[in-house]
Subunit: 188 residues, 2 copies
Amino acid sequence: MKFCSSCGAATDVRIPAGDTRLRAVCTACGTIHYVNPKMVLGTIPVWGDQVLLCRRAIEPRYGLWTLPAGFMEVGESTAHGAMRETLEEAGARVTLERLFSVFDIPHVDQVHLFYLAQLNDLNIQAGEESLEVRLFREQEIPWPHIAFRTITATLRFYFHDRREGVTTVHTGDIRDVRLPHDADTGLA
Amino acid sequence: MKFCSSCGAATDVRIPAGDTRLRAVCTACGTIHYVNPKMVLGTIPVWGDQVLLCRRAIEPRYGLWTLPAGFMEVGESTAHGAMRETLEEAGARVTLERLFSVFDIPHVDQVHLFYLAQLNDLNIQAGEESLEVRLFREQEIPWPHIAFRTITATLRFYFHDRREGVTTVHTGDIRDVRLPHDADTGLA
């Protein structure tokens, strides 16, 4: 932030009165420009024993698999945004069940939040940001080709919890999250 | 956003190629300026059967009571931010137990997230943004003088869940959240 978005004058980086952090402050109109982390919203779209994944048609991680997810927009709730992204990226309409995971990624200033959801039907279709969308059983998940660690963690917890009959909301700094041990695959 | 924060030129409001929403786009350098909702992080600081509240020394809702909470900063996790705000506003050091509530406030583009926490000790002191801080038993909570609806909801669910032995994460658009019925006080 080099220039003030309110008046166009140059900004200066300093600690405003009563604050403890460096902020971009306008040298002309005095506006303080705060920068805050962003939320990424998504779903785990379930159909029987299968989960829908999208193969990314955009960078970063072009060509790798992900759960449908994207940046929260102004004017929407987390639930609405998660459903919107699922529709945009996979053409899929879902019914949300509950909040499943909230993972912090402080090194990129993001919080990733996933809802567990049921697909309403099998009318799915890759959106502009997806190369393809398809359903996977647990043993078919392309683990080495998952785009982000929060997606791997959310999927691993989903299959683990389903097997164990657990209903919990998973949280934490993604760098510290310990994935559940999976005896079948040897993944840890 | 009238001016580009990258180059200082005027921005234009239009739908960028491949997008579906109006964005501020720089007329000179082409930078697209996205605006996203902000997260507010806080704690329910518990000491035995009491909860710590802060009386606000700032607008909005000057003079009303709140749980310690504030905007998430870049570079921190939600847990770290919740603890930081608790220290800044109430001088209180806490140990987090678990995620308690995630409420959407889409009409002000915020998501409020609260962690259940235990006070480490009774060294509490009003910070710059608080007039006073004190502990309240359930029957002492100044319900008509709580600053925000997400605080009322979080407190109501806390006391209800403690009584019922429930451990759940409360979510939803705050305009739709149904508070638990409280037989003792008649609050609904």
